[in-house]
């Protein structure tokens, strides 16, 4: 069993071995799997001028790992005989770290110092209407929308860091939605959820999914795709494995475990509880996205904010959800919100490259 010191040395040596002495080095860092789609084709576009290194906490052989000049597996924490220990990797020669992850671990130290204490840090929000991160840890924050900018500008200290960029992922999704035929399919994409702590809660969680799938199956004639949150892909929760087993004979229900956006973006509509990806879907594909949220009182601020943005519909219960999913999408309104809100539609990549060139000048 390696000690944390040995692991740190191995990780450091591995990273040093792929850094360039001739070109400036840019690192794309994704601690979690669900942020790996946030960079669009930016890593590839930067490869001509820079040495681009992709770094992830897992090795899953997805598109993210195939981009850039090299992929290195460097987790910020490791499990050593049941004890979680933080890795410490600080390497000279990294010029810019671009990430869509902000994790509060170790009092913000991971955001601020992981991989390098000297490199500049650029946060690219994976969400359209939020740029939630440990702002102090980043030198620059790429903002997708006017809505997110308005929130950030309330903090005067932040104004110097904010970059009007748009959304790399939104541009990618828009292209895919335009190029691929829409399928008669509803994608259900629940947010990440905790493991139930009792049989009663297990029945609530798994029963929720089963009642929902059965209802969609009997009250629509569309295919149903269940997209598990990326956080469950490495170790699928028990209820999910049971769901798969239970519905495996049903041709209209499929389980989407891909880490890319190719399949779900072709849906006619998407349903979720709290996943922010539904905003991307609704505005990129101009189709219906619905949140199933019954706990109106406890979630009032969240629901008010959602309704204020006007992109996602709110459903209370199954009947309401189906009505909202199958009703015609108001493309005109969605288009208008998209144009008003999102910066540099279709040009986020060139815009962020301008900023990167300036940062590294």
């Amino acid at each position: 069993m390696n000690s944390i010191k040995t692991i740190n040395k191995q990780l450091k040596d591995g990273l040093k071995s792929v850094l360039s002495k001739d070109k400036k080095n840019i690192v794309f860092l994704s601690h979690s799997l669900d942020t790996r789609c946030a960079y669009g084709q930016l890593p590839s576009a930067l490869m001509d001028c820079y040495n681009v290194i992709m770094i992830g906490a897992e090795r899953v052989q997805d598109d993210f790992e195939k981009m850039g000049h090299a992929f290195i597996h460097i987790p910020c924490k490791v499990d050593l005989q049941g004890e979680v220990q933080y890795t410490s990797v600080d390497v000279d020669g990294i010029d810019l770290i671009i990430t869509a992850d902000s994790i509060p671990d170790q009092g913000g130290k991971v955001d601020q110092e992981f991989l390098s204490k000297k490199a500049k840090r650029l946060f690219v929000s994976p969400e359209l209407f939020s740029s939630h991160c440990n702002h102090a840890a980043f030198d620059h924050i790429a903002i997708s929308s006017k809505y997110a900018m308005d929130i950030c500008q309330k903090d005067a200290q932040l104004s110097q860091k904010l970059l009007e960029v748009g959304s790399l992922r939104f541009d990618e999704l828009s292209k895919k939605a335009a190029q691929q035929n829409m399928q008669p399919m509803i994608t259900y994409m629940p947010a990440s959820r905790p493991i139930p702590r009792s049989y009663v809660n297990m029945n609530f969680v798994a029963g929720h999914e089963n009642m929902l799938l059965e209802w969609l199956l009997t009250h629509t004639d569309m295919k149903i795709s269940y997209k598990l949150h990326a956080s469950g892909l490495l170790k699928a929760p028990h209820y999910y494995m049971q769901l798969k087993e239970q519905w495996k004979g049903e041709e209209r229900i499929t389980f989407d475990e891909s880490l890319n956006d190719d399949h779900w973006i072709t849906s006619k509509a998407v349903l979720s509880d709290f996943s922010p990806d539904v905003y991307l879907f609704s505005l990129a594909a101009l189709r219906n996205a619905v949140y199933l949220v019954t706990d109106v009182k406890a979630h009032k601020p969240f629901l008010d904010k959602t309704l204020e943005q006007g992109v996602v519909r709110i459903a209370h219960g199954l009947k309401d959800a189906v009505n909202q999913l199958v009703s015609p999408a108001n493309e005109k309104d969605l288009m208008s919100i998209m144009k008003q809100q999102i910066y540099h539609i279709g040009h986020a990549q060139s815009k962020i490259m301008e900023h990167i060139n300036r940062i590294l000048d």
Binding site: P194, F204, G207, F274, V293, K297, G317
Partner: protein, 160 residues
């Protein structure tokens, strides 16, 4: 037909997502029940310690909230997940109980050499899907004709 719905208490939700799941679950159940023409009303008896504000939860047709089991005397059957009230309801009112557990694919009580399970077998029916729940409720008036006789016989003989 009138139904008593008595979910048991869940562990406190760990985050807003799980809390919403629990609320959604009850709303879904009421949507499933509302589709059954035979059902005129659902009387919802929340657990006394439940962390669920049912009044603020939703407005659904065919349902009202009640405060205790005595108000359930006009109901025809009870639906629950795992509530112990099933025994009081079945033995006092001599009416059937459906254990609706859509999160599980089956429950095996037949093989258990346990008197409580044997008693349970005299009045309870397990359902694991929306369609199974609907069919069981629709068939209950017929099924319970003989079930009621069996339960009454048991109560007369077994209870002091």
């Amino acid at each position: 037909m009138k139904i008593l719905y008595t979910p048991t208490i869940a562990c406190k939700a760990q985050d807003p997502v799980e809390q919403n799941i629990i609320y959604n679950y009850h709303a879904m159940f009421l949507d499933v029940i509302a589709e059954i023409d035979l059902v005129q009303e659902v009387l919802y008896l929340p657990h006394g310690n439940a962390d669920v504000d049912v009044n603020a939860m939703f407005s659904k047709p065919k349902y009202r909230i009640i405060a205790n089991l005595t108000e359930a005397n006009q109901t025809d059957l009870m639906v629950t997940d795992l509530s112990n009230l099933a025994f009081s309801y079945a033995l006092f009112y001599k009416k059937p109980v459906i254990y609706f557990l859509p999160g599980f694919t089956g429950v095996d009580i037949a093989e258990q050499n346990d008197q409580l399970f044997q008693l349970l077998g005299r009045f309870c029916y397990f359902c694991h899907s929306n369609v199974q729940l609907r069919e069981t409720i629709e068939d209950m008036p017929k099924i319970w004709e003989s079930g009621r006789v069996r339960l009454e016989k048991f109560v007369d003989e077994a209870l002091i």
